[in-house]
């Protein structure tokens, strides 16, 4: 028998998926279920002056209209729990959840949400991380994160930069920026929550981490972990966008309060507002090399827009700093990486997790250096790339598997050389 490892074994759920039998959370229902919706903030930064849900509650067919005061422990978050389940006072971004409504039909729930009366006191908002990090900028999270909007700063320092620049024959310096993007998984968030015959809260969802969700639900509702079941159904893509908990918390809250099964489904527009985004980053890079094409010095400043809540931002900007050199040995360097709060949609995990953005900068720098030095793009990389035994910017020795050179050797023949064109 040939080894099963390295084979082309067919994925176990493929047949169920081609027949349309795989169950995603929107595909499951329970008798007597009601439908939940979330009313979200239209403003990026505001205080709730008055919130009146009486008309919404009086609408026929409405089962529950819940606000912040109905949440026993009104916070969640992968690192800090700085994000409210429902905002009690201060709104920090467009899309912040304000009120949860459940009704006999989705249409009635949406109609009730429209009947909620809210008076806002609009506050000056911060949309630019550079402005938000200046001293004197209004602090967006004084309670959890203190008076500065700089949520995280990591310097990575190695070698002697003055010596490095002195030995550089060529230097390239450039600003780079990457945009905010969405995971755009095909399956919008959906959830079915119920209190079952054991009295346990059972939440069927599409999540990347059911055990984390279970902990957040137990925390928010003040119940024991052993009384909460999170059951993952088929997940329609995630790419990091299902790491922070989403509708699961609100649906659990509504089910717990009404003792009825609660179904929630995001529209695509709601989905855009109810999960995090990839961090836009600005990156200033200065890189120096010798005439022989050896990298000798690098300075980089990376600023990531964390948006309104922390999510994984410290870890993501840490990852950006650690990977900022690219897969190359640079003996002298300084990298400063910052995560900064603004009133933009919050940013968090997405495929690449902070190691994706600096690629634009470090691989552009390699190209610019190669041009100045008149050596090929392959050559400059071969002269600097990590191999087994190399040391990274953080001083880590790469003792194990480092297959980069083989990757480059495989790809190099495809690149056009001088004169290949025309």
């Amino acid at each position: 028998m040939t080894s099963v490892i390295g084979s082309r074994a067919v994925r176990e759920d493929a047949w169920g998926k081609v027949f349309g039998q795989a169950k995603y959370p929107a595909d499951v229902n329970l008798p007597g279920q009601i439908y939940g919706v979330v009313l979200r903030s239209p403003h990026p930064h505001a205080r709730i002056r008055r919130l009146d849900v009486r008309k919404a509650r009086e609408l026929t067919g409405v089962a529950a209209v819940l606000t912040a005061s109905d949440v026993p422990h009104n916070s969640h978050g992968v690192l800090f729990r700085d994000q409210p389940v429902l905002v009690s006072e201060r709104i920090r971004m467009v899309g912040d959840p304000l009120v949860a409504v459940a009704a006999e039909s989705p249409e009635t729930a949406r109609e009730a949400a429209r009947l909620v009366e809210i008076e806002y006191e609009l506050l000056p908002a911060l949309f630019n991380p550079e402005e938000a990090m200046r001293p004197g900028a209004p602090a967006l999270h004084p309670e959890v994160h203190g008076e500065s909007n700089v949520l995280y700063h990591l310097p990575v320092v190695k070698g002697d930069l003055a010596k490095g620049w002195a030995s550089a024959d060529v230097v390239v310096e450039q600003d780079y920026s990457t945009q905010m993007v969405d995971h755009a998984f095909l399956q919008p968030e959906a959830v079915l929550a119920q209190v079952d015959e054991r009295g346990h809260l059972v939440v069927q969802a599409a999540t990347q981490y059911p055990h984390y969700d279970r902990g957040e639900i137990a925390h928010a509702l003040g119940i024991k972990v052993s009384r909460v079941q999170v059951k993952t159904l088929s997940v329609g893509g995630s790419f990091g966008g299902r790491e922070d908990i989403s509708l699961q918390l609100v649906a659990a809250l509504l089910a717990y309060r009404t003792l009825r099964p609660v179904k929630m489904e995001n529209s695509r527009e709601e989905s855009f507002y109810s999960h995090c985004k990839r961090h836009p980053m600005t990156m200033h890079y200065k890189t120096g090399a010798t005439r022989e094409g050896k990298l000798v010095a690098m300075e980089a400043r990376i600023v990531g827009d964390a948006g309104a809540y922390a999510s994984w931002s410290p870890n993501i900007l840490r990852k950006a700093a650690i990977h900022a050199t690219g897969p190359y040995e640079i003996p002298n360097l300084r990298v400063d990486s910052y995560a900064v709060f603004t009133n933009n949609p919050w940013t968090g995990a997405m495929r690449g997790f902070g190691a994706a953005q600096p690629v634009l900068a470090y691989e552009s720098q390699m190209e610019l250096l190669a041009k100045k030095l008149k050596i090929s793009p392959v050559e400059i990389r071969l002269r600097n790339m990590f191999r087994t035994g190399s040391t990274t910017a953080t001083g880590q020795a790469l003792t194990g598997s480092v297959g980069l050179e083989e990757c480059l050797q495989k790809v190099a023949p495809f690149l056009w050389k001088e004169g290949d064109r025309e």
Partner: protein, 336 residues
């Protein structure tokens, strides 16, 4: 005029939670009377194929087919916590936990079989094509199903196990960033061929050649699938996608205005698997999920420069930005 060029990009990626955070995965294993087996993990298969990978690991160890393995995942009432499906960690972390767990149950089976077949050591017992017996001696072997059944009914033996695996990293210093924050690292290299229309500024990606060092491919089909999917997301990131904001409000929260690549936007993709085995990984595996999308953006940006001599420094490389850069170049501005 349409002009073509090629571009290169090399990347690296530290897998796992990293930075000394306890990165633990767990797995429960049970081997059934008929020689099939169940593995329970909290790890969610979000489409990338982790459940198939775990079935393959179980099957490899027990000499079974992956179809003989029931993988139960992501239910907090029954499965142990295996961490999040993120950080390119499930094949390495939970894969290691599954491997560790199944080898525990397997060892007890081997000990039982060694006694039965008068084999001096459990290591002399092998699992092959549904059979268990003494290595190199087909006369001293029997179907796994019969042995498990016999062990339970005649001897009250059960083959169940549980194990956890923790990845090893250290936190970086907040003073100078020094430390060993991730392990293992995956590497990748991609080349892009693009065609730039100098009249319209549009970029067509014609081909991507992608070589990725993932340690060991547990499932070749799924590895190729990760690479092609990563390339497509990279194409979107490089050329199409942007959440546009006005005063913090999303202007384009719809697929009509937030464009992701369609079947007509993705290039021909040639994927090449590089297997530089990692000692600490299951069968040498590291991971591939996130690394697959990393090199694409810069390969495309460098190819655009090679084609028309302009350097795009702000993503995405829209037709407007390319036309503006071409006009700037015409005026004799600093190309780069």
């Amino acid at each position: 005029m349409k002009k073509r060029g090629t571009g290169l990009s090399c990347t690296w990626y530290g897998t796992g939670y990293g930075n000394g955070f306890p990165d633990v995965s767990s797995a429960f294993v049970e081997i059934h009377d008929d020689g099939t087996a169940t593995v329970l993990t909290g790890a969610v298969d979000v489409g990338q194929g982790s459940s198939t990978v775990f079935a393959q690991i179980m099957a490899e160890e027990l000499g079974l087919n992956p179809e003989d393995i029931l993988v139960c995942s992501g239910d907090t009432d029954v499965t142990p916590d295996s961490g999040t499906t993120a950080a390119t960690r499930q094949t390495y972390n939970t894969g290691n936990a599954v491997l560790k767990a199944v080898r525990q149950a397997k060892l007890r089976l081997q000990e039982f079989a060694a006694r039965k077949f008068s084999c001096p050591s459990p290591e002399g017992i092998e699992f092959k094509e549904g059979m268990i017996g003494v290595r190199g001696d087909p006369s001293r072997s029997m179907p796994l199903s019969e042995l498990v059944w016999e062990a339970r009914l005649l001897h009250g033996e059960r083959f169940i196990s549980a194990a956890s695996f923790t990845a090893q990293t250290t936190p970086v210093s907040l003073e100078n960033g020094q430390g060993a924050p991730y392990w293992p690292y995956a590497f990748g290299c991609q080349a892009a061929e693009v065609e730039v229309d100098t009249e319209t500024g549009t970029v067509r990606v014609l081909k991507i050649v992608a070589a990725h060092d993932l340690g060991r491919a547990v499932n070749l089909t799924q590895a190729e699938g990760q690479i092609a999917g990563g390339v497509a997301q990279g194409v979107g990131y490089a050329l199409l996608e942007e959440v546009e904001l006005t005063e913090g409000r999303i202007k384009n929260p719809a697929f009509a205005k937030y464009l992701i690549p369609t079947a007509l936007d993705v290039p021909e993709i040639e994927s090449m698997i590089v297997e530089e085995p990692e000692d600490t990984g299951p069968y040498g595996a590291k991971g591939l999920g996130e690394p697959a999308m990393l090199p694409t953006v810069a390969a495309i940006i460098n190819a655009i420069d090679a084609a028309v001599g302009v350097r795009i420094t702000a993503l995405p490389a829209t037709p407007e930005k390319i036309l503006a850069a071409l006009a700037e170049k015409e005026r004799g501005g600093s190309g780069d």
